[in-house]
Homo-oligomer: 455 residues x 2
């Protein structure tokens, strides 16, 4: 299906009916058309309207994916790969109907090469499942976007998250993928070598392509050794600006911080309310250091000095796991930050059932930002990457609030672009950021379109 | 010009003459057609035959590059971007004639954003020039392929080198490029944000595209803070295998080594002969650690233990710069390894004027390799990446020696691929590795071809 058809809102009812008939013969019960299941495969995480697919297929192999893609290509029916459904920009919506390919049954860890520090997994494997599988190897997969996303979805949206500042994003941690392209053929984008200069970087082309160039059938990932020591700490600051200055100095000094997360005062209030904690309700940095015992102690000491120089309060840190969990869950201190997704609504109890909109932006360096005066919008930031999220809490039944949020989002994106930043640091474009892609990329969008048309 | 024309060896004499006429009017003396200068712009670093362009243009701006590309596109004449000419796979050859675009006058550092740890340069800036320009900022650009290559050439070939194990390759260190595509338009592939998920990763598509998708007009690079402390050391091993085992353990333990270079016994002999040194002539690892004073001492200590466990000799290291220069040049200990390009011929004095062939290969982990029994072929390896070079010394006037080298190269590449490795870890495909690209990438080459045709 060409882009022009998509733009025009074309829905190929006859083709969809034919494809469902064809696939039912092969997939039987693994092709579902019930309304409830279809609704679960539409976008549900923000105020973007949900748009269900016409059917959901549950393939168990690359060959079955080939069959779905070929049938859909022959009849010009859209396919929508579906991982965990945790994306935030309407990626899994089916605006023109079509077949959702649910990867739930393609969830095998195919190969772990512990000596080579890599593994190959099917796209439906979630990051928590993978790390659970790896627990006896001394290795882990570091990318952590918060949600228990699927590896396929994380690859497709070029996900990153809290510890990208040290370990990079999916861009840096995917070694190769296999994918079924629109022609129904399966390609492999690279071998397992840690680096290569053999032709175009097809791996990086597929990472972040949001399902538009092919359906992933496997992903080969780089793994990391679990550090000997992990230390974590919390430090309040008098202002977002002071916290940002501390981040800038930390990065410039080359301290190999593993996580450096910024929560604004409002978000800290939400954390306290949700978890019954008593952190100071001022802008706060949560940090984590990975290394040797001596190394993490040295890093924490260096950061303490920086924090003090920037007007920060006392930097409280520990290398003991049980004390790193201060936010009510037996995980790490960063549970506090991770749960902002569910905690934020607690700031305003009457809105606790509202959906919100995630707004990832990134600029070359962390810069002071502030919530809009007329909206409840706490901020969390992967400050080491200059990437932050504003969680705008709105009543999705109120068009005026939606309009106010849209207006704020527009100004925020324009400001990020004016600073030579990006409208989307890690969640991709999907439906929600489409208007901003051309603003950001200009003529580059034409090149992307040529690549898509040729693929 | 389509790929099919290239395959057929087509040379468009009339078009070339027309383009030279058009460009002469604009460029005057900055368009040269003298034989000697043209010969300097053909490939000259290996036994691949030199193939001169018909003219060499020296543009001074992106607008002038647009003009050259438009004139050449209109008349179906090849353009060949030329940086420092240090590539090793025939990249700057002009098999079908055409216009070489020499970037010597596009050598300005356009912008250094010290706070954001990035800079933007024209493609003709060399890495030594850039680091010299940066010397007062406390920052440096870490990628170091050995030769004083141009940033444009390093970007186009996805270069890496000795410290990629810590800082990554050009893939990881290019933030954005601007390029003139075949249509004569200039595009920018990304903003300056440290990460983004806005559409296809055009930056990574251009990095390693070897000039086939456009002519680079600027490159935005990530910079690093100069480490507080640098320590370096040397450790001999009884066998290449023992040295590889030490490398594997070092990487698995997560020691953030900045360089870990393997030289085989023959290469050590060459180093000793060239620089009047007295290193043991056995396989040897050269290491470098970057960090704080305490950090580099700790890293060196950990490596000492690993080396000892793997049967290595004494690991001699120092953090004092003057003692890290043991190889006759006031640079770093790695000068010894870096100069293998000129030193290797000293093993066999009668061959001192021979050219050699660099053979970068990479596998997922360092594996024992050995020189071919019937050829003089020392080995140097970026062992931390599993990437090594075999320098086959041959008399380029002797067809039998060329055939023996070709045969060896073929077996070496097949072996790398059998281990799920790559035929080219860092020098690109060029002319020399073309036969191996399809072997390595299979159907992926068809996708690359579609991208090239669409661009």
């Amino acid at each position: 299906m060409g882009l022009s058809d998509v733009e025009a809102g074309f829905r190929n009812a006859a083709g969809i009916e034919t494809v469902i008939g064809v696939l039912r013969q092969r997939f039987g019960d693994r092709l579902q058309t019930g309304e409830a299941l279809r609704a679960q495969h539409a976008h549900t995480t923000t105020y973007l309207p949900a748009q269900s697919p016409d059917a959901v297929a549950f393939p168990e192999s690359a060959d079955e994916i080939k069959m779905i893609v070929r049938a859909c290509a022959a009849h010009k029916v859209p396919v929508i790969p579906f991982g965990a459904g945790s994306s935030l920009e309407g990626h899994v919506n089916a605006p023109h109907g079509g077949i959702s390919i649910d990867m739930a049954r393609m969830n095998r860890v195919l190969e772990v090469n512990a000596e080579d520090l890599d593994c190959t997994v099917e796209p439906g494997v979630t990051r928590e499942q993978l790390n659970s599988d790896l627990r006896d190897t001394g290795l882990f997969f570091p990318i952590d976007p918060g949600a228990n996303a699927s590896i396929g979805g994380m690859t497709a949206t070029r996900a990153s998250g809290t510890n990208a500042v040290r370990y990079g994003t999916m861009r840096d941690n995917v070694i190769a993928v296999t994918a079924v392209t629109a022609s129904g053929e399966e390609i492999r984008t690279a071998r397992r070598a840690r680096k290569s200069s053999a032709g175009y970087d097809l791996t990086r082309l597929f990472v972040g392509s949001e399902g538009t160039l092919g359906v992933l059938t496997s992903v080969t990932l780089r793994l990391q050794g679990i550090p000997q020591a992990i230390s974590g700490g919390v430090c309040p600051f008098p202002s977002v600006e002071a916290a940002c200055n501390a981040v800038i100095m930390t990065i410039q000094m080359g301290i190999p911080v593993a996580r450096i997360e910024l929560l604004d005062a409002l978000q800290m209030k939400a954390c306290n309310a949700y978890s019954g904690l008593s952190y100071p309700e001022s802008p706060t940095l949560f940090l984590e250091f990975h290394g040797t015992d001596a190394g993490v102690a040295e890093q924490a000491g260096l950061f303490s000095e920086i924090a003090s120089e920037c007007g920060g309060g006392e930097f409280q840190w520990t290398a003991e796991a049980e004390h790193r969990t201060g936010c009510g869950k037996p995980d790490t201190m960063h549970t506090g930050r991770h749960c902002s997704f569910v905690r934020a609504p607690r700031v305003s109890p009457q809105m606790s059932a509202c959906r919100f909109r995630g707004l990832p932006n990134a600029s070359p360096r962390p810069r002071p930002i502030s919530s809009p005066p007329d909206l409840i919008a706490p901020i969390v930031g992967h400050a080491g990457d200059g990437n932050f999220h504003v969680l705008v809490l709105i009543d999705t039944g109120d068009p005026a609030e939606i309009a106010a949020a849209e207006d704020f989002v527009g100004r925020l994106n324009e400001r990020a672009l004016a600073m030579d930043g990006t409208c989307t640091g890690e969640h991709g474009i999907g439906q929600g950021k489409r208007p901003y892609l051309s603003l950001e990329m200009g003529e580059g969008v034409a090149v992307m379109r040529q690549i898509k048309q040729g693929a």
